[in-house]
């Protein structure tokens, strides 16, 4: 499998957020600011990359009957590590992401890549797949975070954009607003990038 195909799959054709619509819980909850989106992206890419590498490297040793529990243990280990490092060295991000860090364990994106890709492919190519899917996830949630922060808080990366008197539409800070904006982003993505890429 060509690496360019893997990246095209992860970012466009099988984008986990915009096409597969998986892992929605954190997508809707934490994308209220760009900073949170960036932090969540970093956490998910780290976990996805590491779990794909470890799972593909021990894939021949794992008995198939208990592969799912083993995947979960491996994923949970990396998530807990990420959580502990965040609490120690990036406490503001740890607070704003809150429960959604431990919930990366049950983000179906990660288990899905372990089960459908890393457990069947070599280490290098699995790492590339983790990176590609992680990038697809990141691009989508950073786009959503940008739109939500600009409309919902009137700022970008915490910098105020429109001056003192601007009162932003707080509905976009709530998950309900995230649903609406995600729908619009998926619509735009479908009529522009995805249709061109698939044709």
């Amino acid at each position: 499998m060509k690496i360019s195909t893997i990246f095209k799959n992860g970012i466009i054709k099988e984008n986990p957020v915009l096409v597969q619509l998986i892992g929605m819980c954190s997508v809707l909850a934490i994308t209220n600011t760009v900073e949170n989106s960036l932090a969540m992206s970093a956490a998910v890419i780290a976990v996805l990359l590491l779990s794909n590498i470890v799972i593909s490297s021990i894939r021949k040793l794992i008995p198939s009957k208990i592969r799912i529990p083993i995947f979960i243990v491996i994923i949970a280990t990396f998530v807990t590590m990420v959580e502990m490092f965040m609490e120690a060295y990036a406490v503001d991000l740890y607070r704003s992401l809150g429960i959604f860090i431990p919930l990366i364990v049950v983000n179906c994106l990660i288990l899905a890549r372990a089960e459908s890709f890393a457990s069947k492919n070599g280490v290098f190519i699995s790492a590339m797949d983790g990176l590609a899917m992680g990038l697809g996830y990141s691009i989508a949630i950073i786009a959503l975070g940008t739109v939500r922060e600009i409309f919902g808080s009137g700022s970008f990366l915490g910098m105020s954009l429109f001056g003192e008197n601007f009162q932003a539409a707080a509905v976009f800070v709530s998950p309900a607003g995230a649903f609406i904006l995600l729908g619009i982003i998926i619509g735009i993505f479908n009529v522009t990038i995805k249709n061109k890429a698939t044709n």
Binding site: Q167, A169, A170, V171, F172, A176, I180, G183
Partner: protein, 322 residues
């Protein structure tokens, strides 16, 4: 063009109505059309609009103009963008604009009103297929988005004299302050959104709609009746019931919002369940909820429940064996 006309200059043999109101048989031919229905609703809202201008002056004119013009522009723009036939002449966007304006406090800034119009037309109405397809009342959906976005602006009510004041329901909820006189609530000299203050002007419009057969009298009557009964069951003092009926958005909601064709059930039994559900939820929200008013959320929730209600109230085909 009133729907059923055959246009001799066009190649089309039949020009269908702008919207087909799908309802149960028997189907009776009449000169009813979307445009005529919408015109009736606008006529029915005229007393309330005049009242709002009388009580709130320039603020009411400003809000009505902003929402109606914005609703028309957004409808035109989005229909062009989606390459759909432009239907702003069916007057439905104007109705949405008026209803939205009537649901805003007098001091609402113009950009909040315009955002509301955009939300109502683009997100609630056109994204779901345009007129007749919207799953909830566009004006109420927009109001909910505005309350979620700018709770401070959307809950700072002024009395007609321009002094900031709580609504009668707000006073009841807080348990302090002076309740207005009953005749003030009937004529409209109380705090509230610009269209809800005068009970009598809304009722005139409501009666017009019932006489014109645009709305079914059972919905508002059942809605307001259920609210009153449930409020009594919840232990609201009977001397306060009159404030619940006249002092909030109940009359505006029951006559003009809960009767919306697209977002309420088509079956007769379904309509009754819908109205009773709205009444029950309104009373529960007002007494048990955190906010003094509950009409808009009650109607929105029942809008969402409409497909389910229709599913269970579908009449049996004659001779059908279960």
């Amino acid at each position: 063009m009133d729907g059923k006309v055959i246009d001799p200059t066009s190649n089309d043999t039949v020009v269908l109505d702008d919207m087909l109101i799908v309802s149960l048989s028997p189907h009776i031919k009449s000169d009813e059309s979307v445009k005529r229905t919408m015109l009736d609703v606008i006529i029915a809202l005229v007393p309330a609009m005049i009242g709002s201008v009388y009580f709130f002056g320039f603020d009411a004119i400003r809000l009505l103009l902003v929402t109606v013009v914005a609703a028309l522009i957004f409808e035109y723009g989005i229909q062009k963008l989606f390459k759909k036939p432009v239907r702003i002449m069916d007057l439905s966007a104007i109705v949405t604009g008026i209803l939205l304006a009537l649901n805003l406090p007098a001091g609402t800034p113009w950009w909040v009103a315009a955002f509301g119009a955009a939300f109502a037309i683009i997100i609630v109405k056109e994204f779901f297929g345009g007129i007749g397809q919207n799953f909830m009342n566009p004006a109420l959906g927009a109001r909910a988005a505005l309350v979620a976005s700018w709770p401070g602006i959307m809950s700072s009510y002024v009395n007609p004299d321009g002094i900031s004041a709580a609504t009668p329901l707000g006073i009841l909820k807080a348990g302090e302050g002076n309740l207005p006189a009953i005749q003030s609530m009937i004529f409209g000299d109380i705090g509230g959104v610009i269209g809800e203050t005068s009970a009598i002007l809304l009722l005139i419009g409501g009666v017009y709609l019932i006489i014109r057969n645009v709305i079914d009298w059972k919905i508002p009557v059942l809605y307001i009746g259920t609210t009153t009964v449930v409020l009594m069951l919840l232990g609201v003092d009977s001397s306060n019931l009159i404030f619940h009926v006249l002092g909030g958005g109940l009359i505006l909601g029951a006559f003009f919002m809960a009767t919306d064709y697209a977002s309420s059930p088509v079956t007769p039994k379904g309509k009754m369940i819908f109205a009773i559900g709205c009444g029950l939820l309104t009373a529960l929200f007002r007494v048990k909820g955190g906010l003094p008013e509950g009409v808009s959320y009650a109607i929105l929730l029942m809008n969402v429940a409409t497909p389910l209600i229709e599913k269970f109230t579908r009449p049996k085909v004659f001779g059908e064996v279960k």
